[in-house]
Symmetry: C2
Subunit: 875 residues, 2 copies
Amino acid sequence: MKKYVYLFSEADGSNKALFGGKGANLAEMTKLGMPVPQGFTITTEACTKYYADGEVLADEIVEQIFDALAKVEKLQGKKFGDLENPYLVSVRSGARASMPGMMDTILNLGLNDVSVKGLAKLTGDDRFAYDCYRRFIQMYSDVVIGVGKQAFERMIGDLKDSKGYKSDVDMTAEDLQSLIARFKEYFKADQGYDFPQDPKEQLIGAVKAVFRSWDNPRAIVYRRMNDIPGDWGTAVNVQSMVFGNMGETSGTGVAFTRDPATGEKKLFGEYLMNAQGEDVVAGVRTPSPIDHLKVQNPEAYNQFVQIANTLEQHNKDMQDMEFTIERGKLFMLQTRNGKRTANAALKIAVDLVKEGMITEEEACLRVEPKQLDTLLHPQFDAKALKAATPIAKGLPASPGAAYGKISFTAEEAVERNKAGEKVVLVRLETSPEDIEGMVAAEGILTVRGGMTSHAAVVARGMGECCVAGCGALVVDEEAKTVTIDGKVYTTEDYISLDGSTGNVYAGIIETKPADISGNFGTLMGWADKYRALKVRTNADTPKDAAQAYAFGAEGIGLCRTEHMFFKEDRIMSVRKMIVAKTVEARKAALNELLPMQREDFVGIYEAMKGNGVTIRFLDPPLHEFVPHKDAEIQELADELKMSFAELKKIVDDLHEFNPMLGHRGCRLSVTYPEIAEMQARAVMEAAIIVSKRNDYKVTPEIMIPLVGEVKELKYVKEHVVAVLEEVMKEQNYKLDYKIGTMIEIPRAALTADQIAKEADFFSFGTNDLTQMTFGFSRDDAGKFLDDYYAKKIFESDPFAKVDQIGVGRLMKIASTEGRAVNPDLHLGICGEHGGDPSTVEFCHDIGLDYVSCSPFRVPLARLAAAQANIKNPRK
Amino acid sequence: MKKYVYLFSEADGSNKALFGGKGANLAEMTKLGMPVPQGFTITTEACTKYYADGEVLADEIVEQIFDALAKVEKLQGKKFGDLENPYLVSVRSGARASMPGMMDTILNLGLNDVSVKGLAKLTGDDRFAYDCYRRFIQMYSDVVIGVGKQAFERMIGDLKDSKGYKSDVDMTAEDLQSLIARFKEYFKADQGYDFPQDPKEQLIGAVKAVFRSWDNPRAIVYRRMNDIPGDWGTAVNVQSMVFGNMGETSGTGVAFTRDPATGEKKLFGEYLMNAQGEDVVAGVRTPSPIDHLKVQNPEAYNQFVQIANTLEQHNKDMQDMEFTIERGKLFMLQTRNGKRTANAALKIAVDLVKEGMITEEEACLRVEPKQLDTLLHPQFDAKALKAATPIAKGLPASPGAAYGKISFTAEEAVERNKAGEKVVLVRLETSPEDIEGMVAAEGILTVRGGMTSHAAVVARGMGECCVAGCGALVVDEEAKTVTIDGKVYTTEDYISLDGSTGNVYAGIIETKPADISGNFGTLMGWADKYRALKVRTNADTPKDAAQAYAFGAEGIGLCRTEHMFFKEDRIMSVRKMIVAKTVEARKAALNELLPMQREDFVGIYEAMKGNGVTIRFLDPPLHEFVPHKDAEIQELADELKMSFAELKKIVDDLHEFNPMLGHRGCRLSVTYPEIAEMQARAVMEAAIIVSKRNDYKVTPEIMIPLVGEVKELKYVKEHVVAVLEEVMKEQNYKLDYKIGTMIEIPRAALTADQIAKEADFFSFGTNDLTQMTFGFSRDDAGKFLDDYYAKKIFESDPFAKVDQIGVGRLMKIASTEGRAVNPDLHLGICGEHGGDPSTVEFCHDIGLDYVSCSPFRVPLARLAAAQANIKNPRK
């Protein structure tokens, strides 16, 4: 028979997968001879079996639980439900990865009408015993049975009102006894049977409740946010209760071996005498700093310091420990690697290497790549922030902090910015036409749209603070007001945005620039030393390119050219090109764009100082560049000197049922090769200009988007190559160049062996590839993805983290089969996913050459790439 | 050195891939000792090399051509450019598959200022000789050099005008000589050099021109229509000229060994004495029936009859032959398997088996599956049709013939049909709401939309005649008129449609019902005997199901349920369901639909008499069921007793950016499982009703659409199974049932090993799978697909013929990996492709169990399946 239940003394402290983090650490502390209240762990396999069996706890597991219980009772010399020496336990979840507060915990299990008396006798404190019992009934009814939460609170309220009590602590033992009686009455009336008196029945109920809580909505959300697979399951730890509230020689506390906020090396924590754990959390009394214990109980203090040191040495990381002192005697309830701020994480990792406790590689593994993000953006001054109260909360769409006066349109933002004002752009949602306003603004606040809305994606790309989907805003664009909670704000009001929390504040909260301390540099140096993947950036402007270069980008993996087309000074030429009726007219309009495109590329090449820059040719459908409202069409018609009807027809003909699946990408160049030709000319002319005036030579990399068939690439490539060669001949200057494609259409991946013959590089466009592979669009999926999370169909957002089995399989096919015919094929990823650590790891594992991500994610990607190579070194 | 040029006597008559059809048959006739004017074939490999070399004819090929030429000159005892005995040749294309009229031909090559005199002397006919030379200059200048077409015609016109001639034949030898002089002058002025006098130079120019013509636009279109790959290339046949116009003992003709219209076994053909081939075609003189030759030249006639018999016996098929009699001597210019009508094809195939010439299997291979289509629909009476002139021409979107009075709306069509009128529905384009009107109409005519537009797809599905994209129509829906070429037609006017040609006629042309003669039944019987694939049908109504059953369908592979939702008596319940704010309200609306859905299924189960019926659950996005114009929204709001604003918001919220990639398919059932539950109840209740009252038992097959992740299927399946079991329990009646899914999302194919564990069957939804795999939608691709054909990026429409290397690879992955985990997995295809012969063959080859197609394509699929199994027998 399989073993599902282990005493702490039996369990293997290195096997967190089986015993969960808490269980493994309890086993480890037991093994190290530390004073741990004994108990047992029910494994994660029991949890997965529970779900596989249809949410049923198998008899064999129940049996093993009771066996273990008997052993521990014997060990502790106590008995469940005993009048003299009652045995009480806590029942706690403990998953492989720490998920604080996400799952259920039940304390003081074992209390019933008999054992409560035993507890009273044992502690000499009737009030304490009945308060425990009352709390246990409340907690158990709520968590295990799902009954009475509001009713019980109401009963307590009624009792306090009738007696004129202000606080719970005013209630006497007698009050609590009468409450217990009422609770039990209510329970029986509601459930039709008595509140369970059998501690064993209580225990099995509690274990099932913990297993169930693995799948409660907040745990599901937490797992999605933290990349924790749903099939891991949780272990359950049943531990003998010890009491920190048995008078003034008892107490309870929490401590860290280093400061979790700064990383400073000193014991850091607090405790309360004569209290239980929840009192510390509740904040009714103010806890003392840990070093006061030195005075109150030097022996326990010294013992604790020694244990803390041992644990840190043993686990080679900063520890977060819970302890209880029962009548002077120290008990360790749990230890774990402590959560810490990004700054602390860096300092601790670097310090541990200096202290000789861990290697540089281990240090790289100790810092969560995602944490770095918070270090790279301006932040609110912590004190100023503490004093402020948010007026609304949206989604933390792009980190950083910003303040400015409210601006309702992109044009206004641009103008006021020119005039020297700081503005925040407030929009229902943004569109590509807002791009200049977004650049001009300090931050962006939208009413609609999620984490992957246009505003969010663009803002993250620019490293600009953005709060999205803030539904509490009522925007009146005509009146130029925004109303929040009944209060009206105008264009003269300042607001402040926290893109890391989604909070919106009235007025100015001062910000401070990103603080990249020495530890950051040290760790990044190690990361660069140990990674195999190169890290490029997605940047469309010299400013972004320079920012990314400063963050360590080794080139540009995706330079989109369409944003350039939206700029005020060129959109008219773009529109002329679209309405052109002849190739000649189209070429004339394109010729107007040529010098501007060339200047764009010159700026970007200069910013990247000779590093590779992959320029993607025009991608979006042309209807994105024309107005759609009648008034705007009329205006444009006037400017273009054509009739409204004529222009309206052109606009209507551009309409697409499914723009994502329409006339865009290389399909545009197949229809209008002159567009690609203009872009090719701009690229090569810019490359020659920059190469001539610097001591490096530019190697242009041209990316043809949306290829699904090799002949598309071949056709466009022929036109592009002809122009590149022509320009070099004209200028009598020779440069190498590369022509490649995005792999973003499933068929491109499936026919990579053909496409690779014509391509110097593949760049995985995982945004589109995900859309096509799943058959849903990022814009429309918002309608049902929440249902998918709630119903456990998806565990994570496929637009944030690459779906390895579907999309990833296509990536593997394309990589393997592409390289088979073209061993020099350069492989990278340039979708949003390139800045996701798990995706970076996947890209490393399947042998890509580089990842490309937005500038502010470059450090994250460098670290994630190092972690991937440390875990799975590339030959 | 590779051999690119073969004398007819050297070539291998069985190798059409290398020598083309014409070349191989010339070789074969030569080998059989038949009187073939000698010559040589330049292989298809030379053509592909020509393209691979960048449209250059390699020196080695030129050399081999001249070598062969020298041998043939010697053989014939004539010399190129000779004054006494000039050697002339024809240069003709000859592809592997016959492409009549698609490529270029040049006759009388070898004529120049010298040899024309030789020809005159030889024939004793100056006028003939100079007419040949003038035609040669015209043809060569146009086809090879691309010059002078209009100018030469104008010169001829001017000359005739000045002399008062009415016809070309009025021109004298002197007239022709002066024309020749003017032609040459023009040529020199335009090109800067003399018209080529060197016959060898002429020859090489002509060969290149034929190679080039392989890629002319009409050849590309023909190949796409006939599934001929672009990389086959064409061979070139250089054949000694013989002359049928050397007086009254010469002649030329064309004959078939059987009647190509009826298939009757008798020599069928016509000839003209003293004429060249083009005279027969030009129709200036009326040719004589072939048997008149018996009188004019019994020897030649008998020889020809014998040759015809030998060729038919040798090739085991009806032959189409060209011959020339030069001064009493018969020459065979070419033979090929003759094109024939569908009826003739059937009769010939069956007769050849009866005659012991071919086997049943060979007979199955002799009939083009696509031809069968024309036999299954009503047709216009041939005589009546001959007398009529089309008033407009659209796309032949769905075959058959129909007439009726013009009806401009679906509602009107329904009402007038009820009142006993025959109507033709004329619409700008159709939408799903028109479905009832489409059923009520005799035929459908649309102004917009292509071969895969809504109207076309639905009409083909129903076997109803449809002409689509008829841009010549100006429809005024308000005035209820349609104007064609200035003439106005009203709802009282009759029009007639020919869905096989796209022609539209004014007035009534009588139709006659499909004539499925005995040969049809015989051949279908053989097809059924030799096929391995089952053939099902796509049918949503009992009427369609019955039609398909009559055509031999062995079940329904796709029964869409959404068309049922659009019916007049239920759309309101559907809309109530959509606007419901609570699950209860939604269930109430669904309950209104339940009895109707049940009746639908009862009717379909009865029609299919116990054969499998795969019912696909609701698939389209919900916004398809609500109105979008304000007036209609207001109307619906009134009916639903809600405010306009409230309903408008619901409609707006349903809007999707990319409906194809939106909230549809199983995603609807994940959000609203109650929809699937209602449908499951309707299915099982219907199945029980039908099983109880018949001697067969229905096995419901439920198809969950648009699955991309196994957990979607699992989730919906759990809800469905619960209802199925519940219904069986309620009714105390047990039936087997199957639950499966469409494979129409790339990810479904890529994760088939997981999905197959939960599915009893996979049905490949190749319409959507093609859209997702290529990343373009059927509705939007029309904008660029023509460019793709013109630029040779695509050779065929991926929505008509499955793309085997991309989409097909996903199908193979899904089949192989699905069966690996679930060997009983039932596999089929239900996209539009299921009725395409090449796709049927592919489905056979990858081991599917069945194909499913629209009712009128069932016979086609049965035959295609037989051909596939005969070519590649399944073990």
